[in-house]
Amino acid sequence: MNLPGHGILKGLAETARNFVGSYVSKDRLVTVQYPEERLPSKEAARNFPFLVYDGEDWEKGLRCVACQICEKECPPKCITIVKDTLRKPDYVGKLQFQPKLFDIDISVCMSCQICVEVCPFDAIKMDNEFELSGCDRFEQLLLHKRQLAKPNEYYQRIHPIEAAEVDGRLNVEKAKAQAKAGAGKK
């Protein structure tokens, strides 16, 4: 025989179990005292894009060759690139174009990561920085080349597995180019 209110009492027992359980079991305690405690970010987590540069000099080491493929493929068209007339050598020594202007409007960017997928030069990658708040709604949200350029060491820190794969590929290319140059000299 089911007493009236039996269902409600059963429900209250469940709530009590969850409440007391949140003090004893890690599984039931689902909150983290942010910002003192932070959850480690996942390898694949992405927020806004950034440009990778190799070495110490951010201008000389910037991998971007201003091919403008990311600008064309970006769905909301948040990237603006202006090609420079001067050229600079890339990591294997070949002369490439470079961007005079590379702006990303992060108030438009939807973090879809298509620019990263289509870049043939591994020049643009996804950052996972999300604590970007500030007081300006316009100028602060238009990131320029200097703000976007971050070193390869940073990329290796935030996405270690991905960066290792990219570095492996680029080193193979570099070795091939050096071998060719060495054979050419002989």
Partner: protein, 385 residues
């Protein structure tokens, strides 16, 4: 601005019917905590009973279909995430399926398994959220919602480690998936799937026998089966009325014919049945997940014929549909050989499921309207596009 001269259509107004001075006109929404988004209902009340209900929406209209005509096929994929923003991976799959039909691509086996796994995880977290929101609307002050979201977080963590984002995943590609499963993901997914039935048991112990839930939902908003079929209702709302129509069994798209699972059917078509059908569907999804996570093979994840850039399908048209957690989600694409589609149409289940809202609510009280709307399970991103 161009001018067009057309015959004026007489406007069928909420005010068109005679108001006898005793009826109260209320606009419920668009800013309302229980309308699941920016959704408005123009109610005409006779005391506490609903005499007329007209749904008004379009507040979240972002002309997704027009943008689809000026974006490439790949570029529209992140926009499909934002249609039904709870279930971005099933939206992606429906769109990828339609484009694959249009272009004649075929996803390899591992990609199909990954698609099924992500789709069923999406179904789990959508139904859990729905159960939580429905109970929240009934006044349960957040406890079931909190428990549901606690489990949902685990699933969103899985999505983040696979796709990079918790909700706006942008993961499916035409001919497969964007990237392969990271190391340890299957183990983590198996852990989540193994702990989920315990949460469902607790959730059902908390709610199923609850007298308040039963008296507020049983016999409320009854939907007869014949009306549901004629009105184009799909998804759990249709199955709760007793119609056995689940696209996973009817179309057998993807590799769903390899998995053994049942389709829960309701008897009465009231709000309680719609809620129970969703809870039972969660259990069936767990069965599918068990089988898929066990059987997933190794292999490539993208069709070798698929192209990322410069994708121009041959002229033609295709309609591809899947069983999303809300109902039948379909994409109708017309290609004219150029990189952008000529016509890009989304068949939104929430939009069409709202057709019968007035029929379900007539004669009920205002508090029941909230509960019935909750059981239809709408997401305004999909209703308005």
């Amino acid at each position: 601005m161009s001018t067009r001269e057309f015959q004026v259509i007489p406007r069928v107004d909420v005010d068109g019917t005679a108001v006898d001075g005793e009826q109260l006109e209320i606009s419920m929404g668009p800013q309302h905590p229980s309308t699941h988004g920016v959704f408005r209902m123009d109610l005409k009340l006779d005391g506490e009973r609903v005499a007329r209900l007209k749904p008004v929406f379009g507040y979240l209209h972002r002309n997704h279909e027009k943008i689809g005509e000026s974006t490439t096929y790949l570029g529209s994929m992140p926009y499909t995430d934002r249609l039904d923003y709870f279930c971005s991976l099933t939206n992606n799959w429906a769109y990828a399926l339609a484009v694959e039909k249009l272009a004649g691509l075929q996803a390899p086996e591992r990609a199909e398994y990954i698609r099924v796994i992500t789709a069923e995880l999406t179904r789990l977290q959508n139904h859990a959220s729905l159960a939580g929101f429905l109970l929240q609307d009934m006044g349960a002050s957040g406890t079931p919602l909190m428990y549901a979201f606690r489990e949902r977080e685990k699933i969103l963590d899985l999505f983040e480690s696979l796709t990079g984002a918790r909700m706006m995943c942008n993961y499916m590609r035409f001919g497969g998936c964007r990237c392969d499963l990271p190391a340890g993901w299957i183990l983590e997914a198996r852990g989540v799937v193994e702990r989920f039935p315990r949460f469902l048991d607790e959730f059902q112990a908390l709610l199923d026998g609850n007298e308040i839930l039963m008296s507020r939902t049983q016999g409320v908003g009854v939907l007869p089966a014949a009306l549901a079929v004629n009105a184009g209702i799909t998804g759990p709302m249709l199955r709760a009325s007793g119609v056995n129509y689940d696209l996973r069994k009817v179309d057998r798209y993807g590799i769903y014919d390899r998995f053994s699972f049942k389709v829960p059917i309701g008897d009465h078509g009231d709000v309680y049945d719609r809620y129970m059908v969703r809870v039972l569907e969660m259990r069936e999804s767990l069965k599918i997940l068990d089988q898929a996570l066990r059987d997933i093979p190794d292999g490539p994840i993208l069709d070798p014929k698929a192209k990322l850039r410069g994708f121009r399908p041959k002229p033609g048209e295709a309609y591809g549909r899947i069983e999303s957690p809300k109902g039948e989600l379909g994409f109708y694409l017309i290609s004219d050989g150029s990189p952008n589609p000529y016509r890009y149409r989304v068949r939104p289940p929430s939009f069409i499921n709202l057709t019968l809202l007035e029929d379900l609510c007539l004669g009920h009280q205002v508090a029941d309207v909230v509960v019935i709307l909750g059981s239809v399970d709408i997401v305004l991103g999909e209703v308005d596009r």
